[in-house]
């Protein structure tokens, strides 16, 4: 129960930090001054605000944001300012100051998932080998592949030597053809699946097939060759563009709108640790 509460608390605080960092301005709004830099000294910054010069003392809590050409703010030290820069300066609210360490924390946490995945796989496969489960030799291949991959990975970027050769063998002559082969199987499955499943049984199916043919032919040079003599709006590539840009975008926008509303609800449930399911009901 304590672990569960601890995880819920950490999850809530992490979510709260990013939420507050997003909504709270990086400097206290009523003490923030916006203007154009006139001069900078180690003790103060002189700004031109509404036609009048105003001195801002340089204190440890002062945060200065320079306006980039794109309009986005860039955090800078007072010494980096030049006359003419558009800036806003004020006492920090501290939240944005912590963004880099908090981001680093989550990047490190995410990286640990790789290690945890490897440990988990190693535990499963070592168990298979110890207990001589059916096809346990596949688990031996797993350890050999991981070991070989790690050693070969050390040869990445090497100028020469056996490590580079090992890297070339593993990545160019094993991984590349194997991954490509698995992926290319999709072409065969898609062809037979569309042959077996795509039947014009209704008006909607006919519409879908027509648009599919237009897009498929419009994507390849043969579509252009077949219709190049027609007026441009009747050429297959142009019709395919209309389907993709207009009809498709309208449908995708509607779909994503619904999905994102659902994602907000799920996100809130995760944040407040209200989610229940395969792992969340278990006592940790």
């Amino acid at each position: 129960m304590t672990k569960r509460r601890f995880i819920a608390l950490v999850t809530f605080l992490a979510g709260l930090y990013y939420f507050l960092e997003f909504v709270v301005p990086p400097t206290i709004p009523w003490r923030t001054v916006r203007g154009e830099v006139v001069s900078v000294s180690p003790q103060s910054i002189t700004l031109l605000v509404n036609g009048q010069q105003q001195q801002i003392p340089v204190e440890p809590t002062l945060k200065v944001y320079r306006e980039r050409p794109t309009g986005a703010p860039e955090s800078v030290e007072p010494a980096q300012l030049r006359p003419g820069d558009r800036v806003s300066a004020g006492p920090t609210t501290y939240l944005s100051d912590w963004l880099t360490p908090v981001n680093n924390f989550f990047i490190v946490l995410g990286s640990m998932a790789w290690g945890m995945g490897l440990i988990s796989l190693a535990m499963v496969h070592s168990g298979n080998i110890r207990r001589r489960r059916p096809e346990w030799y596949g688990s031996v291949v797993f350890f050999l592949a991981v070991g070989g991959g790690i050693v070969a990975g050390l040869g990445y970027g090497a100028e020469g030597g056996w490590l580079k050769e090992a890297n070339d063998v593993v990545f160019n002559y094993l991984l590349r053809p194997m991954s490509s082969t698995v992926f290319s199987l999709l072409a065969f499955h898609m062809a037979t699946a569309s042959y077996r499943a795509f039947r014009v049984k209704s008006g909607e199916a006919a519409l879908m097939m027509t648009s599919a043919f237009v897009v498929m032919l419009g994507q390849i040079p043969i579509g252009l060759w077949l219709t190049h003599g027609l007026p441009s709006f009747l050429q297959l590539p142009v019709m395919a563009q209309w389907v993709l840009y207009i009809a498709n975008s309208a449908a995708v926008r509607g779909m994503w709108f619904g999905m994102m509303v659902g994602a907000i609800a799920v996100g809130l449930r995760f944040w407040l640790s209200l989610e229940r399911g395969a792992f969340f009901d278990r006592e940790l």
Binding site: F106, S180, R253
Partner: protein
């Protein structure tokens, strides 16, 4: 009518064989087909053409063997464009696959060997390798690239002016003209966390099947361009080399088997439907 009805139950192995022959034939017979250049490809090409001096392009090359059929050609043509126009670029792979930078290296190695022998690593391009972290990593790249990467993929410090002179003028998002993310399904986080905050233009290179979800960003101007599957790569090659005989990129080579593959699928679906209607008529 009996034989027509049988068209809806062709043995799937015939479909496999037809796809195999259709995809293999262009590798035996040298065929090059003219392509229609879509607006999303043209916009990316024209945007890169306008890159001002002093700016760099960040290429998020997060693909590996699984999707190399589509992504290889997409980075190849853009790298060729950048090397030809001497636009410096930085390669990384954010979150998706650690193999991305290694594949990008192979593409560049071939281009440099065959077309641009005078281009130098560290001056014309830098490979920063893989980084984990998703949107947190993107935020840090934007704020200060050295927060996210201490060394490049070859182990040189980013402050090493002798080996990486290019990195001495790259600090943060302000120095980046365009972010071009190439992978099976690019991370949409580039749009809210980078384009939304800093206004930096984003372009995608994605698998054809994934492209339907990104067209809406082209309409809203949140993507400046997009290369869609093999077609996008072939179209970009057509812009780089207006003369068909000069084109020899992976995209131009692979659009031919794709065209024949699409034709086989369309013919198979039509045959299946002829069989379906014949069977229905026979049943009355």
């Amino acid at each position: 009518m009996e034989w027509l009805a049988r068209l809806q139950s062709i043995d799937r192995r015939w479909i496999y064989a037809a796809i195999w022959v259709a995809c293999a034939l262009p590798f035996v017979v040298n065929i090059k087909l003219p392509v229609y250049v879509s607006p999303e490809t043209r916009r990316l090409y024209e945007f890169i053409e306008k890159c001002p001096p002093g700016k760099v392009i960040l290429v998020d090359s997060a693909w590996d063997a699984g999707s190399q059929g589509e992504n290889w050609g997409q980075v190849e043509v853009v790298f060729e464009h950048l090397l030809r126009n001497r636009i410096p670029f930085i390669i990384t792979s954010v979150e998706i696959t650690p193999l991305g930078p290694q594949f990008a290296d192979q593409v560049i190695e071939r281009l440099v060997r065959e077309k641009f022998p005078d281009r130098k690593y560290g001056v014309d391009w830098v490979n920063l390798g893989y980084t984990k972290g998703g949107w947190q990593a993107m935020q840090q790249i934007a704020k200060d690239i050295r927060q996210q990467y201490k060394k490049d993929s070859r182990g040189y410090s980013l402050d090493d002016a002798e080996h990486l002179p290019l990195m001495q003028r790259v600090r943060n998002i302000e120095d980046i003209y365009l972010i071009y993310s190439v992978t099976y399904s690019p991370l949409e986080d580039w749009i809210p966390f980078i384009h939304g905050v800093y206004g930096t233009p984003i372009a995608f290179g994605c698998a054809g099947i994934q492209s339907t979800t990104y067209y809406r960003y082209l309409l809203s101007g949140q993507l400046v361009g997009m290369l869609v599957g093999v077609r996008g790569a072939a179209e970009y090659d057509a812009l780089l080399h207006p003369n068909l005989r000069d084109r020899n990129s992976m995209g131009t080579k692979l659009i031919v088997p794709q065209a024949f593959g699409h034709l086989v699928i369309i013919v198979a679906v039509i045959l299946g439907n002829i069989g379906y209607f014949a069977a229905r008529r026979r049943r009355g």
